[in-house]
Symmetry: C2
Subunit: 450 residues, 2 copies
C-alpha cells in the first residue's frame, strides 16, 4: 500500500485545542511563594488544594531506580488513599533524592505540616520536588512557608500560574495549558469542564538532574480508576515521546486530579464523555510536552518528528523517538541542515519502548513483554522523508530526491522543525518531541561544577 505524504501539512492527533493559560478548574485553590529553599529568593514552594473534599487522583512516576523521596511518598499516599488527594505540595531547590531514610523522614514531615495546616489526612497529601540531588529539605523554612501560603491560596488563574512559576528551576518560560470541553449534566444540559495543566522541566544548570514535573487538574467528576486509564496512555503518547537529552530524572512525576466540582455528571468509563475527557487530558499533556521540548536546555528550536505508515502506532512512536533523540539529527537541526542521511540512520535504529510504556499505550501484557525493546519495522525502499516541508528521500523513487536546499535551510530556521516520515507499511502513526543540540547545552552542563 502507498500512503500519500503531504509534506507541507503536519499531522497531529485529533485533539481539542489547548490554550496557553492556566485557568484553574472549579474545586481547586492554588498558589506559590518564596520560602527560602532557593538561595536566589525565587518562588520555591507551592500548594494545590481541593475546596470540598478529596479529589480523585492518578499519577505516573519515574521508573528510575533512584526515585526520590517525594515520589516514594506520593506513591504510598495514593495506595493508602485508594486514589484520593486533598493537596499537592511542591518544593524546588532541593530534589530530596539520594538522601536515604533521612530524606524519607523529611518528606513525611512536609506531608504532616501540610495536612495539619489544611486539616486533612496526611495520606491525602501528594508531593513534588525538584532541585539539587543529595541535599536535604530545609524543614523550618518549608514549615514557615506553608503557614504563610495557606491563607494566600486563591481560585484564580494567577493561583495556578503561581504554582507553575514556583516549580521552575532553569526553565526559561512558565508552562501552562488549558482545554475546555462540554460534558452533559444530570439536568440534561451541557456544562463546561476545564482541564488545566502546568509543568516544569528540562533545566539542569543549577540542579544536578533533569526533573519533569506536571500537574493536570479538572473539575470533572471521575473515579481514580478512570483517571488512571486516561492518564497512562496520554503520558505514553506525550511525555514518553519527549526527550531533551536522554536522561530520565529521579523525580519525574505527573499528577491528574479531578475535583468533581463541575455541574457535569460523573464521567463513566466507556462513554463519549470519557473519550472527551481523555482527549482533553491528552491535549493538555501534549501541549505541555511540546512547551518543555521547546525550552530544552540550550535549545533554540522545537524538533518534532511525525511518523505515518508504520506497521502500528507502537512502531511509529519508536521511530519518531529515535529520530528526535539522535545527537546527530539534533546537531543538524541546530545547523539548519536538511541532512536526511542522519534522519534515515536514526529511523533505522528505532526500538520499541519498554513493556510498561507499551502496556500503558494499549498493548496487551503479553504483547508488550514480547515486543519491548525490539526493532521497529522500517524498509528503506518504502520510506519517505520530508524535512521542514521538503521531500528529501523517497525509497520507492530511487532514494535521495533533488530539492531546493536553500529553501529547505530557510524553512528550518524556524521555532519548530517538523520531520515527517512515511514508512509505507501500514496505518500506524505517532510523534515525538525534542529540541536541537547546541554548544550552550554542553557549556551549561560542563561549566557548572558541584
Amino acid at each position: 500500500m502507498t500512503i500519500e505524504l503531504d509534506v507541507t501539512a503536519p499531522i497531529s492527533p485529533d485533539l481539542p485545542a489547548a490554550e496557553r493559560r492556566a485557568r484553574i478548574p472549579a474545586g481547586f485553590l492554588a498558589g506559590g511563594r518564596a520560602a527560602g529553599i532557593k538561595a536566589s529568593g525565587r518562588p520555591d514552594l507551592a500548594l494545590v488544594v481541593t475546596t470540598s473534599g478529596p479529589a480523585a487522583a492518578a499519577a505516573v512516576f519515574t521508573p528510575n531506580a533512584f526515585a526520590a523521596a517525594p515520589v516514594r511518598r506520593s506513591r504510598a499516599a495514593l495506595e493508602i488513599s485508594g486514589g484520593r488527594a486533598s493537596a499537592i505540595v511542591s518544593t524546588s531547590g532541593s530534589a530530596n533524592a539520594a538522601t536515604g531514610e533521612d530524606g524519607d523522614a523529611d518528606q513525611a514531615r512536609v506531608g504532616e505540616l501540610v495536612a495539619a495546616s489544611l486539616g486533612v489526612p496526611e495520606g491525602e497529601v501528594l508531593h513534588l520536588s525538584t532541585g539539587i540531588i543529595g541535599t536535604r529539605l530545609p524543614l523550618d523554612r518549608v514549615a514557615a512557608g506553608v503557614d504563610a501560603l495557606v491563607p494566600e491560596l486563591a481560585a484564580t488563574d494567577d493561583g495556578l500560574e503561581s504554582v507553575a512559576v514556583a516549580l521552575r528551576t532553569t526553565d526559561t518560560v512558565t508552562k501552562v495549558s488549558t482545554v475546555a470541553i462540554a460534558l452533559p449534566g444530570l439536568d440534561g444540559g451541557l456544562h463546561e469542564v476545564r482541564v488545566s495543566g502546568i509543568a516544569k522541566g528540562v533545566g539542569m544548570i543549577h540542579p544536578r538532574m533533569a526533573t519533569m514535573l506536571a500537574v493536570i487538574l479538572t473539575d470533572a467528576a471521575a473515579a481514580p480508576s478512570l483517571l488512571t486509564s486516561i492518564l497512562r496512555p496520554a503520558a505514553a503518547r506525550t511525555w514518553d515521546q519527549l526527550s531533551v537529552d536522554g536522561d530520565t530524572s529521579t523525580n519525574d512525576t505527573v499528577f491528574l486530579l479531578a475535583s468533581g466540582a463541575s455541574p457535569a455528571a460523573a464521567v463513566q468509563a466507556g462513554t463519549p464523555a470519557a473519550a472527551a475527557l481523555a482527549g482533553a487530558v491528552e491535549a493538555v499533556a501534549r501541549d505541555l510536552a511540546r512547551q518543555q521540548a521547546a525550552d530544552g536546555e540550550g535549545a533554540t528550536c522545537l524538533l518534532t518528528c511525525q511518523v505515518t505508515g508504520a506497521t502500528d502506532d507502537a512502531d511509529a512512536r519508536a521511530v519518531a523517538r529515535a529520530v528526535i533523540s539522535s545527537s546527530l539529527v539534533k546537531a543538524a537541526a541546530h545547523g539548519k541542515d536538511p541532512n536526511w542521511g542522519r534522519v534515515a540512520g536514526a529511523a533505522g535504529n528505532g526500538r520499541l519502548a519498554d513493556a510498561a510504556i507499551l502496556e500503558a499505550a494499549g498493548l496487551s501484557a503479553s504483547e508488550a513483554a514480547t515486543r519491548a525493546g525490539s526493532p521497529a519495522l522500517v524498509e528503506p525502499a518504502r520510506l519517505r522523508i520530508a524535512i521542514a516541508g521538503h521531500l528529501v528521500f523517497d525509497g520507492a523513487a530511487g532514494g535521495p530526491q533533488s530539492f531546493d536546499r536553500a529553501a529547505a535551510r530557510a524553512a528550518m530556521d524556524a521555532p519548530e522543525i517538523v520531520i515527517r516520515l512515511d514508512l509505507g507499511l501500514g496505518d500506524g502513526a505517532g510523534e515525538a518531541f525534542g529540541c536541537d543540540l547546541t554548544e550552550l547545552y554542553v557549556i551549561e552542563n560542563s561549566e557548572y561544577t558541584t
Copy 2:
C-alpha cells in the same frame, strides 16, 4: 553480601595484554592506497587478502534497518561461502548506503573487480565501506585502484597499518592492536599465534554518519563456527559497550578471519586453545573499542565505567552503558566535575540490551527474549560510586560521602576517567567505554552542512 570496592584499582577483564602495533598474522597480505574516492587525496582503498586459500571468517553487522550495500553484500557472501573469505576490500569516502539497487549493483561490481584481479570467487570477497551516505561509488577509480594496489600488497606490519589508515575518515589517530598467544602444535611444541586488529570509527565531520569498522586477523586455524562463537560474545562485551553519541551506523561491520597459516594445530571448540584464542580476540576488540572511544568526535578524554556487584553480567553491562551514554555524565566529565548525582541518576536508568546482544553475550534465547530492554536491578541503599578513585557515594553509609573535591577534580583531568560502581547485589561485572561531550562535538556536527 558486601563487595569491597577498591576505588583506586580499576578492574579489567582478565585478558591478554594487547600491544598497539599491527603485526600481520601469517597467511595474509594487506595494503592501502589513494584511489581518488576522497576529494582530499588521502588513502581510501584497501585490501586484505589470504595467501593460501580462503580463511575461515565470522562477522558482526549493524542492526540498522538502513544497512548499507557493503553490509548486505558481505552478509550474502558469508552465507554463500559458508564462512570462507579470500579478501576484504574497503573503501572510504562513500558509504554506499541508502543508494538502493544501483548501490547494490555497484558493490557487486567491486566484488567482481577484486575477485578477477586476485583470481578468487566473487563470493569469497568481503566488503567494508564508510563515508558519505547517499553517494555512489566511483567505480572507475575503484577499478584502477584495485589494479594498482594488488601488486603492492605486502605481508608487513606496514601493510596492515596501511589498511587501517585507508579506513580512516575523521579519525584523528589510526587504531591498531595485536595480541600474541602460544598454542600447541601437532609436533607437541608451542607456536606463536597472532591476533591483529584494526578499526576506524566515531568521526562524523565530513561523512554524514558514524561508521564503526573493524577487522581482526589471526593465523590460527579455526572453523567458521568457532570464530562466530568467539566473535559474537567478544563484540557484545566490547563494541556493544562502546558509545560516542548513541547513533548506530548503517555500515558497522566487524570481520574476524583465521588463515590457519600458523604451525599451531587447528583450534577445537571447548579446548584451552579455544579459550586462549577467544581471550586474544576479546583483548584486541577491547583495545580497539577503547581507542575508538578515546578518539570520539570532539572528545578530550576516554570515559570508562566499570560495574561490579551486579546481579549478573548483563545487568552490570546495562548499568555501565547507561552511565557512559548519559549526556549529563559526559558533560560533567568534560567539566571535570565529580557529579555523582548524574552518575546515580544514569545508573538508575540502566536497561538491558536487546535480545540479539543478550544472546550473543551468553544468555539463552528465551532468557534473552524475556529480559531484553528490562531495567537493570539497582538498589540505592547498596550502591557505591567512585569517580577517578574517589569514593563519592555509599548508599549503606548514608549516601553522599565527603571527599577531597579538588583532588577529585585534578584526578579527572586525565586522558581516561574511570567511574566505578559497586551495586552490592551479586557477582556480576561489566564495563563500557565512552568519551566526554564537548562543544566541539556540537560544532563539528552542526556547522558542517550538506
